[in-house]
Amino acid sequence: MWNETVLRMVGVGILETLYMVFVSSFIAYLIGLPLGVILVVTDKTGIAPKPIINKIIGTIVNLMRSIPFIILLVLVMPLTRFVVGTVVGSSAVIVPLILASAPYIARLVESSLQEVDNGVIEAAQSMGANTFQIITKVLLPEAKPSLIIGSAIAITTIIGYSAMSGFVGGGGLGDIAIRYGYYRKESDLALVTVILMVLIVQGIQEIGARWMKHTDKRLH
């Protein structure tokens, strides 16, 4: 069975998975990072408390996070069709991937930023820093190591989500595993795709950990 067609299929699968994961991670961060910042800043103990805004965003984030991905995948199909023009293929899966991971990323970012020492924020305030300066010069740079490790967690979670896209013909390694392993009972091909996914997850986790160590000046 290990002919050129199968190898090509697995190769394309890897690329599709990486494409889905990285594009959706990138866009999800564009949404999730500001949301996480807003959650921290507008908290009642934050630097610009806005309880109502905080409550609204917090509720939306929780709501989105409580929908199982497999349900979301189907639920957002009309939106996907509107944005991408189709509901099958890797590009189509990016839409539900973003919707599922952006709120998750918002919470990860929130928890990273909460680790920043309040004393440092107070010091910045005593120097006359405004809210925007505190976000860009204190919160984000001081939380950078934690944000990096958070992004590794987010990406690996998105890899897991992307595997489910096989159920709607989304492509990628998960799709191969489901079509061959689940429907056709070709378990060795399924095993290979699973191992490849494990390797990708391991690799990203490792890169994240090393990058964090390299960045964090508290460890040197």
Binding site: A124, S126, M127, G128, A129, K144, K217, H220
Partner: protein, 339 residues
Amino acid sequence: MGNKKPIIELVGLGKEFQSKDNTVKALEDINLTIYEGEIFGIIGLSGAGKSTLVRCMNFLERPTKGTVLFDGKDLSSLRKEELLKARQSMGMIFQQFNLLMQRTALENICFPLEIAGVPKKEGLKRANELLELVGLTDKVNAYPAQLSGGQKQRVAIARALATNPSVILCDEATSALDPTTTRSILNLLKEINQKLGITVIIITHEMKVIEEVCNRVAIIDKSQIAEVGAMEEVFVRPKSKIAKQLIFSHDTHIESFVGEHKCRIIFDGRTSFEPVIANMVLECKTPVNILFADTKDIDGKAFGQMVIQLPNDELSRMRIYAYLNANQIPYEEVKDDVE
């Protein structure tokens, strides 16, 4: 200080914290004037409200009552941007240093300059000068994690000075440091005060910090000012109960000194070059027992107190009292129920 110009004035200041089911009064009717160029100490036990007080001075905490005048301006009347601008004239240092952990010493000092919108090149030049002032030229590229506590506080001081403030607020700035480092940091603050004419406000719970550098001191107790005055005056003749407690903190031991006829001799700076006790013993020809002594040299004068036990024989005691009176040495009889 001939013509003293107020730099910070607190008038009828009050601060209440609203919690779910009760209000906590952190500060009550605080009236205080701090003058340009002085080193002003604020001392109190933990929970007395001193940290809240210093945060009211730069409006990190907004007072719920009264006014804060900084350089004649009412801080509550300022618009947000004006307040942020005013804060750049008030540097602040902290017990836990509060440096940015992901920035080098030099970058930390550049930080307030970035906030103030100073061009990068100019900021770097200024930061390097300040590192020199605090004696850390060899630590330019060190991260806070690589510095000792004293070095971190020096970076924090340099950072607080970056925007040329007229006041520097020190919130328990030496409380996390050992005695030797504490002294060197206090000396640095003194130097900055003398060289640059910057007003220094020191919040502490340690009397020795006040003794070391302050010109004037306010004692805060249970959210209120208990006593304000020149450091020497308060130190030698504390009036309030809390002041006595803070200054004669060792007095608790006196109660355990058995025996009657105890007398506290006060060294108020006039009697420094004179061997007071030795002369007294020689003159009165009667021995005394020194139970306790705590004297310090402040600006070349001796300050402190000594508790001695006088002889049981009344005549000898009379002679000693007469000697003390004649030589204008302040003293008081110690009763066993002192606090």
